[in-house]
């Protein structure tokens, strides 16, 4: 019996303008419960790949499926956890950690009126999972870059996601926090069994935790275990060549 993959891209091509493809003939399958890193140079199509997977863009050619359904018409969107690039997040808003994480319960808990008790419990649980319980009522802007990313990961977790997608989560985060973030994701993957797609221009921090590494430069140029990656490609700048 064929198991439905969490993500399935079949020969997908896409461009924002005619005759200027950003991605060409991309074929990718992510099984449920996998922890996969997607890396590649800036401008190589990683963010576009994420947008296609999440149904924010429709393929020009080919098809993009989420749990067997067309991604742009996916019926269980509230089970998608997404950590956008940091520049797109409201890090300047005067929100506390709890307020940020509560935003992650909106789709699952209902748009109108106050939060229910169960939702508040799930928010507290998500904050605890990322180790921010003691800072739960602190303003987000008083936290370090790494702690802010943890808060947004907790926000994604609060929606009880079946797929967690992180776009450049380590940008602007120091090396120690990158390691700590990667270890946190590994632990969440083990404890929750959630499918994780980690997208970044470099993959050093998560290399030892992920089962698969996918390198993208307009198309997929490598898809396998990090151990199978040719040594020279561990230098991310090589992907530019």
């Amino acid at each position: 019996m064929r198991v439905t993959p969490a993500v399935e891209l079949d020969d997908v091509s896409f461009g924002y303008r005619p005759n200027q493809p950003v991605l060409e003939d991309v074929a990718l399958r992510l099984g449920e419960g996998e922890f996969v890193a997607v890396a590649g140079p800036n401008g190589g199509g990683k963010t576009t790949l994420v947008r296609l997977i999440l149904g924010l863009e429709r393929p020009g050619e080919g098809r993009a499926l989420l749990f067997g359904e067309p991604a742009h018409r996916f019926s269980r969107k509230r089970t998608l956890g997404y950590l956008a690039q940091r520049s797109e997040l409201g890090g300047d808003a005067p929100a506390t950690v709890r307020e940020v994480v509560s935003a992650g319960r909106l789709a699952a808990g209902g748009l109108i009126g106050p939060m229910r008790r169960r939702d508040r419990e799930l928010v507290a649980e998500a904050i605890e999972r990322v180790g921010l319980s003691e800072r739960a009522d602190a303003p987000l802007r008083t936290l370090s870059g790494g702690q802010q990313q943890r808060a947004f990961i907790a926000k994604a977790l609060a929606g009880e996601p079946s797929l967690l997608v992180l776009d450049e989560p380590t940008t602007g985060v120091d090396a120690e926090s990158q390691e700590s973030l990667a270890a946190l994701l590994d632990r969440l993957h083990s404890e929750l069994g959630v499918t994780i797609l980690y997208v970044s221009h470099e993959f050093g921090a998560v290399e030892r935790f992920v089962q698969r590494l996918v390198l993208v430069r307009r198309t997929i140029v490598f898809d396998g275990s990090p151990r199978e990656l040719p040594g020279v490609w561990h230098d991310p700048s090589h992907v530019h060549a």
Binding site: G55, L89, G113, P139
Partner: protein, 265 residues
């Protein structure tokens, strides 16, 4: 002061607008769309002009024009074909140009028009107050019901979109609320100053608050206090009410900046 009915009516209208304008402005400021209130105000000017020309209530035509303008700005912005600031500029200048042409056609470049540009809170009637209070209550109730959803969009719009939250509908709701606020505030501070009452209390609150919710509540309190104190000062010092209200809000903002700096935050 309170023995004069016109002041009691003015304080009533000022209180409603003083609370509503920052409540709606909060979501505009947090999304870095502070000037949208100004843009909608200029479209409302075209609405006032159309009302004068057609001999229909200028407040009603301003409300219709403001809602259409607010939705137009949001649609242009969300489609991405026009950058947010260009969308705003397009609606802003078209609105004021249309207003000038219509007013000139109606031969109404006079004192009546100035009431809408600079406010005329001392001429608010009982019927006006009923309309302002009713629409204000509906606006505040809508903000209250949608608070969590609107706050979630402020925190992470793209994440909410991915999770299936109807971002387009919520953004249109904010634009419509902003338009209603502009139309109601027109009588209090005037079209030219309406955006100030939506922005200054929120900016001041952001300097001294510790969370989104406290910023939201402080902003409404500062808006209310600015309105009531501004009206009182204008009554005793014989100053124009709209300008005095906004100057009080500006002083509160300056004080909040000083307090924030003194605390080292």
């Amino acid at each position: 002061m309170l023995e004069s009915e016109f002041m009691r009516l003015a304080l009533g209208a000022g209180a409603v607008v003083g609370v509503l304008a920052p409540a709606v402005g909060f979501f505009l400021v947090q999304r870095r769309q502070s000037l949208i209130g100004d843009g909608i105000g200029h479209v409302a000017f075209a609405g006032v002009a159309a009302g004068i020309l057609l001999d229909v209530s200028p407040v009603l035509t301003a409300l219709v024009a403001a809602v259409l303008g607010g939705v137009a700005i949001e649609v242009l912005r969300s489609r991405g074909g026009t950058a947010g600031d260009q969308a705003l500029a397009l609606v802003f200048y078209t609105g004021i140009a249309l207003g000038v042409v219509l007013v000139s056609t109606a031969g109404a470049l006079n004192v009546d028009l100035f009431q809408y540009l600079f406010g005329s809170i001392l001429t608010v009637t009982r019927a006006d107050l009923v309309v302002i209070a009713t629409l204000g209550a509906v606006g505040l109730a809508t903000v209250g019901l949608l608070y969590r959803a609107l706050a979630a969009v402020v925190v992470d719009e793209e994440g909410a979109r991915v999770a299936g939250v109807p971002i387009g509908g919520l953004n249109i709701a904010v634009a419509t609320l902003a338009a209603v606020t502009v139309a109601l505030s027109m009588r209090v501070v005037g079209i030219l100053l309406v955006a100030a009452l939506m922005v200054l209390p929120v900016s001041a609150a952001g300097r001294i608050a510790w969370s989104m919710r406290s910023t939201f509540v402080f902003a409404m309190a500062i808006g209310l206090a600015s309105s009531l104190v501004g009206l009182t000062i204008s009554y005793y010092a014989d100053l124009p009410p709209g300008g005095t209200i906004v100057l009080v809000a500006a002083v509160v903002f300056g004080t909040a900046v000083a307090v924030s700096a003194a605390r080292g935050s």
